[in-house]
Every structure is written in C-alpha cells, then in structure tokens.
C-alpha cells in the first residue's frame, strides 16, 4: 500500500455560481501544466474535488509543485481503496503507521455515498477500534489529536487522507485577464506581480533598460525575477524597452525637479502602447503610498493623467516590512537586492518634486515633443520569454 493520490481542495471558487466550471477547468489545466515533467501523471475532477494520480512519482515533489498553484486551498496525500471495510481498515492503518510524531489520533468518516452499508458514526468506531488493536502506543483523542485521519467514502472509491497542507489560495492564473507589470528590479514590483497573479491575473512584464548606464546584469536581474514569478504561473513575456535616449532627453530638457515625474509619465505612455498592442487591459505597478517622491498622492495624480487604463497597485497600503516579508517568501528578495543600477536609480534629481501638479507638468512637456522617441522605443522593444518549464534552460546545460 502507498499514497497514490493527492487530493486538492479549492475554496473560494466553489462560490462562483455559473462561472465555476470555467475556474475549475483553468485550475485543472494549470495543475496539469505544472506537473508536465512527471510522466503519466493525471489530474482528475470529481464533484467538488480534484485528484492527482501519482503513478509512482515521489509525492513530495508533486506537492511542492502544486503548492505554488493559485486557486488551491489545501492538499492532502491520499490512499485510494475500494469501498470495502477491510480495505478501508488497511488504508487507515497505513496512514497512521506512516506518520511521524503522532501519539494521539482521531478518525473522521464522511459517507458521501449513502449506499455504503455502514454509517459514518459506526464506521468511526470500527476504524478507531481496528487502529488501536493493531498498534502500540497510540491513543484516540478527538479534541486535540496530533493527526486526523479522514476517510471519505465516495461512490467510485474511498479516499483516506491524513495531513492537510495549506495551498496558496487565490484564483487560478488566467481567470482574470492579463495585466502589464512594470518590473524595475527592485523589491516591490515582483511582489505586486505575485499579488496580481494571486487574483487570477496573467502577467506580462515591461522593463526599461538604459544601456550603457544600466548593465546586462540589471537586465538579467529582471529576467531572473520574472522567472521566479513563473513558479506561480507559467510563462511570462518581458518587453524590454530601450530607454536610454528618452531618459537622456528628459533629463537634459526638463527642469530637474520635474524630470522624475515626466519620466514616469513617459513610462506610463509606453506601457499603455505596449498593452494596447498585446490586448492587455490594465497596468500593474509596485507603487506604495508615501514610499518615495514619485509615490505621493500628488505624484500619482499627475502621472496617472496620461492613461485611462486601470492601474492595479496591490501594494498601495502596505508597509515596507510587509512587502519585504512577502518578497522573502516568494523568493524574489535576494535577487531584488542585488546592487545593480537600474533606470530609476541612475538619473536621480537632487530634489525631486514631491507635490507636482498636472498644470506645471503639461506646461513643461509642451516645450518638447517626445512622440517620436516614444514611438521608437515601443518599436524597438525586445521580447524575452521566460518559462517555468526547464527545457527553456540555458547555454550552460551541457556544462552542468
């Protein structure tokens, strides 16, 4: 006997009414995609549940992959047995004796299939008795068990599970449309991307690259960050926009205090154009109220003037510490703090305006037409695609 299934529970999606099926199908696809590397593995749906059929693969590795799929409320290792009392007894015994650090247990039987001849209550006692008489050193404790053995008698079979592993929750990526994430390489933007993905958003990324002021390593850092984010989705397209000319032009022609605001407005215009060509309906940023000069209420008001696309700002009310904590959890922090210059750190005005106004900015911008340069930057954007599947790997593979 062995654990041959993983049971997957999805929470919030069950509330989606008529659209539920769409959400569940997407979840199934996403899980299947994550488990592509394991041959013959199957993801099956039954009412209200999903099962991964392991076909001999190491359950730990499979669970590790599933743990990063949004839309999963929790997971459990499961043994599938026939709807037969002796088989169920054997399965429960296996679950108990193959657990560690368990002294007190509890059995909970759920009889979904009412044709099964023994009632849930009675079955609880049958199994509890069987476990106690076939083991040493265990006791039943229904209030504070170290382990709860769940037995679900369904029409097709009985599933026995023991441990409930929490999933990430959220909605399956791809059920809420696409957004263009402005990915700088700092700590905040990857976290913003992650949180958007958690709400089912599929992301593409945009990055502004200013060679030779910013290095290949800064670009690589952004590619690495996007690759880390693919753990929670599938592939991510990164639009790397050459920004050197524009940046130089802005800082040469525009007043020092307003250069930062104008640069942000131009980035926003470029992001909108890329979104438009990719049929993306929103832009996601790592903005966070009050963190730096460009993120005051006045700044956001001024910058936001150039687009009527919705801007998702998942971090807007968070403290830096909260953001760092998520960055560490999702494995982007160590990459984010690598010290390479990026387009937001090379040209920093001595005293950027923290309270810019739309009127002033429009007045300065009217002195210089950036249209052609913007057009050129959009046209010359390079697309880099990163994926969660290993085959995309690198030129180093034959060395390692």
């Amino acid at each position: 006997m062995q654990y041959d299934h993983i049971l997957i529970r999805y929470g919030e999606m069950a509330l989606k009414g008529k659209n539920m099926n769409k959400f569940i199908s997407r979840l199934q696809e996403n899980i299947q995609h994550k488990l592509k590397e394991f041959a013959h593995i199957k993801v099956k749906r039954t009412q209200g549940r999903m099962f991964v059929l392991l076909h001999g693969h190491d359950p730990e590795q499979v669970i590790d992959k599933c743990k990063n799929v949004f839309g999963i409320q929790s997971l459990s290792l499961a043994i599938k047995v026939e709807n037969d009392v002796d088989a169920i007894k054997d399965g429960a015994l296996y679950a108990l004796t193959n657990s560690v650090d368990v002294h007190q247990f509890k059995v909970t039987v759920k009889r979904v299939n009412k044709d099964f001849p023994i009632g849930s209550q009675e079955m609880n006692q049958v199994l509890g008795g069987h476990l106690l008489s076939n083991t040493d050193g265990y006791a039943v404790d229904v209030h504070q068990p170290d382990m709860e053995i769940n037995v679900e008698i369904r029409s097709e079979a009985t599933y026995i599970t023991s441990q409930v592993i929490p999933g990430l929750g959220g909605l399956p990526v791809g059920t809420s449309g696409k957004s263009l994430l402005m990915l700088s390489g700092g700590i905040d933007s990857p976290v913003a991307g992650y949180l958007a993905m958690k709400r089912g958003v599929q992301i593409e990324a945009i990055h502004f690259h200013s060679p030779p002021f910013t290095s290949e390593r800064a670009k690589q850092k952004v590619i690495d960050l996007a690759e880390t984010l693919t753990k929670y989705g599938n592939s991510i397209k990164i639009h790397v926009v050459p920004f050197t000319k524009l940046q130089q032009e802005i800082f040469r022609e525009m007043p020092d205090g307003y250069a930062m605001t104008i640069m942000r407005r131009i980035m926003m215009r470029i992001s909108e154009k890329i979104s438009e060509s990719e049929s993306i309906l929103s832009i996601t940023t790592g903005e966070n109220l009050g963190q730096v000069a460009s993120q005051t209420m006045e700044s956001m008001h001024t910058i936001n003037e150039v687009t009527n696309y919705p801007i998702l700002r998942p971090l807007i009310t968070m403290d830096k510490q909260e953001i760092i904590k998520i960055a560490q959890e999702i494995d982007t922090y160590d990459t984010s703090i690598l010290p390479y210059e990026d387009c937001c750190t090379i040209f920093v005005p001595k005293s950027p305006k923290t309270r810019p106004t739309r009127e002033k900015v429009n007045q300065f911008e009217s002195n210089k037409d950036f249209t052609n340069l913007i057009e050129e930057a959009v046209n010359q954007a390079e697309v880099v695609k990163v994926s969660d599947q290993r085959e995309s790997a690198s030129v180093f593979d034959d060395l390692l």
């Binding site: 290949e216 390593r217 180093f396 390692l400």
Partner: protein, 379 residues
C-alpha cells in the same frame, strides 16, 4: 588495471573533465567583476549552485563551494565553535571520525573546548542513546560521519537528527564524504545543519567540494576576504571546479538510483567469497555501505599484500590514507574492539559504479594467490 581504492579517490569522469576544461577556457573571468564577462561567469556560478541545490533538495543559498572534505569539515566544526563559544564549549563526536574532524576537534581542545569522543560497537556504529546521554547544557555541536571510510559502517544519522531537533541550541554536522551517492541522506527537515561533501570521491576533481550550511546556521568563517559564498568562504570562486563538482554530483545521483542494487550484490558476493578464504576475517558488518569492504589477513603484513596485488595491476589499500601512531594499526578497528592481530592486518577494498563482477573475481583469485604465496615464504 583493476582499481579498488575508490574510497581514497575515484577516477575523474571524462565528461566532468571536459566541463572543467571548457569552463576554464571560456568562462575565466572573475565572477565578481562588474563587466559583462564577469556577469556571464557569475550567471554560470549561480546556475551551478541552483543545480546543486536542486539535486540535494535544499536552497541555493545553503550551498557553499569549498576545496573539499577537509575544508568542509574544518569550516563546519571550527566555524560553529568560534561563533557560538559564548553559548557553550562542549562538542560531541566519535572515536572513528576522519582526521579532518578528529584533529579539528583536538585542536579546539587546546583552546579550552571540551570534546566527548563517543565509542562504537564492533560493527563500527555509535548508539543513539550514547549521543543522547552525552548532550549537556553547554553542548554546541554534534559532528559525526555518515559512512565510515575504513569500515563502511553507517551511523544512525536520521535518529540523531531527531534528537538534534529537540535541542535547538546545538548544531548537527554530518561528514557525508563517503556516503553521498551510495547511502541516501535527506538534508531538508532532517535536523542536519551542516553537511560535508567532496568531489573527488564521486568521480569529480580533487580540490573541490560542497558544504551544506542550513539557512539558520551561523558560522565564523575560516577565510575572510571578498565575502564570496555568502561570506562563509571568501576567495575568488573556483568556477570550473564548482561546475565540474555539480556535474559529478548529478552523475553519481543518477547512478545511485539505477545501480546501487548491483553494488550491494557485488559487495555481498565479495564478502561471502572472502569469508571462504583461510586466514581472512571480514571486518565490515552486514549492514554497511555497499562500496567499502574491510577485511584482515591475519598474520600477514597488509603492505606486503598490497604490493603483491600491485604486481598484478590490482590496487587496494590498507585502512585509509591517514596515519596513526602505530604504523599498521587501524584506529577505527581498535575502537571497534578488534584485537591487535586483526587491527594490524586490515585491508580495504572500495568499489565504484564502474566496478564489474569480473573485476571482483580476478581480485579474489589474486588475493588467494597472494595469501598462499605469503604463507609459503613465511613458513
């Protein structure tokens, strides 16, 4: 040639050598340089680390590339001792450790540390109870080998890890130089805080190794400098060596999966055939690693047997490459309680996945012949 001294060192895999050569010539830039060439080499270094981490099922920042087993063991033991001496000065190890552990511990004794050397039974195994009883309020480190290099005995690391987990104030270091690729040892959630590996025991190159340092483990570094390897091992990275090590690690893990059963069959065959020979006593116990077989030819000088086999182009060793006070006496065998006749006449055969059954058969014929010849001369 029949090479049966794989616990001393293994023959480098040609593919590993090739990687080393290519990395040395193509990716020679310093990974810390900020120019593009440096960026490329840094990328390769990171990729190597990521791959090592995924093979060992740990996280990339828990991998420290070292110069090998001796450095790994010294970094772990002295690093913990120096960093946490305020907390306590008691260290637990065993009587059968490799000199790089034993002597590191002894050197700490001269600095005022208190070391407990646990005994072993005849099978060369320490008992879990002894470990538990040895732990004191000021114990900061338990350092034990996974597989013994002379006998192949396997220590109950998993159980000791469980004990270590219950004592959050102490660290648990495992020397897995002989075990990797032969006897599985999970690192994650195992109670192990530090673990030493060496490349040249797994068909990699000498001068390279890995020290696993768990995320919550803080060490005082032996080498200070440019803060490479998370500050634990400064010094310009030996990129080609590290890449080659990771490749060797990948290969050995693949072979372990496919071929470890065959290795057990080979060593069972070897043990049972050796037992048939007159004057031969097999010292390795039944439950041991599949690649190390220790036996004594009572009454014969091991060095003479080795030279006689060498004439036939067969290479085995006495105990291990390390020295002990008495020229031929094995400290490990003495610790196991073997008498002097046996502990001074020990020989070690160590296999690799390249060893064939034919190799073993030829070896058995040769050793039988050597023993008979020896006896004729002596009698």
């Amino acid at each position: 040639m029949i090479y049966l001294d794989n616990s001393a060192t293994t023959k480098p895999d040609p593919a590993v050598l090739k990687s080393f050569e290519r990395v040395s010539s193509q990716y020679f830039a310093n990974p810390s340089s900020i120019h593009q060439l440096g960026g490329e080499t840094e990328k390769l270094l990171k990729q190597a680390k990521k791959q090592a981490a995924s093979i060992l099922k740990v996280s990339p920042d828990e991998i420290v590339f070292t110069s090998g087993g001796t450095e790994g063991n010294n970094t772990a033991i002295k690093g913990i001792a120096l960093e946490h001496q305020e907390r306590g000065k008691h260290i637990i190890t065993s009587e059968i450790e490799h000199p790089s552990v034993h002597d590191a511990c002894q050197s700490l004794e001269s600095l005022g540390f208190d070391i407990t050397y646990l005994p072993v039974n005849q099978a060369g195994v320490i008992t879990v109870e002894d470990v538990e009883n040895a732990i004191k309020h000021d114990t900061i480190l338990i350092s034990l080998m996974h597989v013994n290099n002379e006998l192949g005995s396997i220590q109950p690391i998993k159980e000791i890890g469980e004990i270590a987990k219950r004592h959050p104030k102490l660290f648990f270091h495992v020397d897995d130089v002989q075990g990797i690729g032969k006897v599985p040892l999970p690192l994650r959630d195992s109670g192990i805080d530090l673990c030493t590996f060496s490349a040249h025991k797994i068909h990699g190159l000498k001068g390279t190794g890995i020290l696993y340092v768990g995320n919550r483990t803080k060490l005082f570094p032996l080498l200070h400098g440019g803060s490479q390897e998370q500050g634990i091992r400064s010094g310009t990275e030996n990129l080609a060596g590290a890449v080659a090590m990771v490749k060797a690690l990948r290969f050995i893990k693949e072979r372990e999966k496919k071929e470890v059963h065959r290795l057990y069959e080979l060593s069972d065959y070897l043990k049972s055939e050796l037992q048939q020979l007159t004057s031969v006593e097999v010292n390795t116990a039944d439950h041991a690693a599949p690649h190390i077989i220790n036996f004594s030819v009572v009454g014969a000088k091991p060095e003479v047997i080795i030279h006689m086999l060498g004439e036939e182009n067969i290479f085995i060793s006495t105990k291990s490459a390390c020295s002990s006070k008495q020229k031929d006496e094995s400290k490990v065998l003495t610790a196991c309680g073997f008498d002097k006749a046996r502990s001074t006449s020990a020989l070690r055969v160590s296999l690799s996945y390249q060893t064939t059954r034919d190799d073993i058969t030829v070896f058995l014929q040769a050793i039988e012949k050597a023993i008979n010849q020896f006896k004729e001369v002596m009698e």
